[in-house]
Amino acid sequence: MSVLLQTSDLTCVKDDRVLFEDLNLSLTAGQMLLVEGKNGSGKTSLLRILTGLNLPESGDVLWQGEPISEVGPEYYEQVNYVGHHDGIKRDLTCLENLRLVQAMGKPLPIDLDDALDKVNLYRFGDNFVATLSAGQKRRLAMARLVVTEARLWIMDEPFTSLDKASMAMFQQMFEQHLNDGGLIVMTSHHDIEMPDSDVVRLNLSE
């Protein structure tokens, strides 16, 4: 299978400290990259470099063999990112939030109600986000992943403030995504139990 996401000689420096140097990765469809490492080892930086939000000191991130800075919109159509911040507005309802996510120019596979249903938030659709609990907010942020059809999911600690049941639910969702030919890059302090999936581990502390 052809390689979709690749990094070539990626080096990241933050505050004069080299976080990682000459990192070469490649990910094919259906693969998941689990980034591990101590606090401050550069996990978040790596993820943000992959999204193009941060710039590496040197090296390139390649999508289908081309640097993402040159691919531009065609890459962003394929990327969904869930970072430390939920990226949802407190003063909007769940549905209004998701509608805005869809407006960002990525392909749309499913209906908003279905997406809410998938993350068990259907009945909160018209509630303001401010009234939701931290876990529910996180679930809404994760619903962003499915309202548009992006192949590459990049997630920074997606399981924070989620309970066991939700975690299992999302892992199932991830497996489904991988089976459909998607890619996942994520960091997590929690144990991942996805035995049927092709999981590549990268430890930045070593």
């Binding site: 933050k14 505050d15 004069d16 710039l55």
Partner: protein, 248 residues
């Protein structure tokens, strides 16, 4: 030819190369500056004839006008660095941009103060809202803004890119600001201030002026190199070339 240029550009942009080169050039530049400034001052203060309208006070021109020219010139240098930073992400350009700002601010300040010192005998007050003084004052604010922004951002790589954007935005705005102020001035004041505009300037006054302008440019390069060397040493303190340099 182009290939050669690109190669040279990259080599010139590498910190250790530039550091060494600047160190080699500094004594020569200092010598050149000394010659130019002595010649310029002698020509301006001694040889140039007394102005029949302004008497001796016009001799301020030999520092005022070159300083005002420098204030524009340095901003242009900074904006060019800004473009280089955004297009090629060259680290040296970030350092040059940030180091040029305080020098530019000094020259702008100098142009303002000498301008008002000239204004006192000419207009009878230290400050008039003359078009040139006003746009020079705004230019000073632009410089201070760049210095302030650079100082406020902790991550110097990010700060470098931020001031690059700001310098370019400023560059687009400077002509607009300048012409607005000029137009505003002509609206509110008569053409009383055109005393500065000499229709033609005699050669014996012109050559010291140009020599001083050149001396200031050389001085800018000296001061810039000095600053850039200090900053490079600080920024690259963890790299091998600095280690080798310090150990030797």
């Amino acid at each position: 030819m182009f290939k050669w240029f690109v190669k040279w550009f990259h080599r010139f942009g590498s910190p250790p190369y530039f550091y060494r080169l600047a160190g080699l050039w500094l004594p020569w530049l200092t010598g050149l500056f000394t010659i130019l400034v002595v010649a310029g001052l002698y020509g301006g203060l001694v040889l140039a004839p007394t102005d029949y309208q302004q008497g001796e006070s016009y001799r301020i021109i030999f520092v005022h006008v070159p300083a005002a020219w420098m204030s524009m010139f340095i901003y242009m240098v900074m904006a060019s660095c800004g473009i280089i930073i955004l297009v090629w992400r060259m680290k040296l350009a970030e350092v040059v941009l940030s180091c040029a700002a305080p020098i530019g601010a000094s020259f702008t300040f100098l142009a303002l103060v000498t301008g008002s010192l000239w204004g006192k005998p000419m207009w009878g007050t230290y400050w008039v809202w003359d078009a040139r003084l006003t746009s020079e004052l705004i230019l000073l604010f632009l410089y201070l803004g760049i210095m302030g922004l650079y100082g406020a951002i902790d991550d110097k790589r990010v700060a470098g890119r931020a001031v690059a954007i700001l310098a370019i935005v400023g560059m687009v705005n400077i002509p607009i600001i300048h012409y607005s102020v000029e137009w505003w001035n002509s609206l509110h004041q008569g053409p009383t201030v055109t005393k500065f505009d000499k229709p033609s300037i005699v050669w014996s006054m012109l050559w010291p002026l140009l020599t001083m302008a050149l001396a200031f440019k050389v001085y800018f390069v000296i001061s810039l190199f000095q600053r850039v060397r200090a900053e490079l040493l600080h920024r690259e303190r963890n790299t091998r070339w600095v280690e080798e340099l310090v150990k030797s």
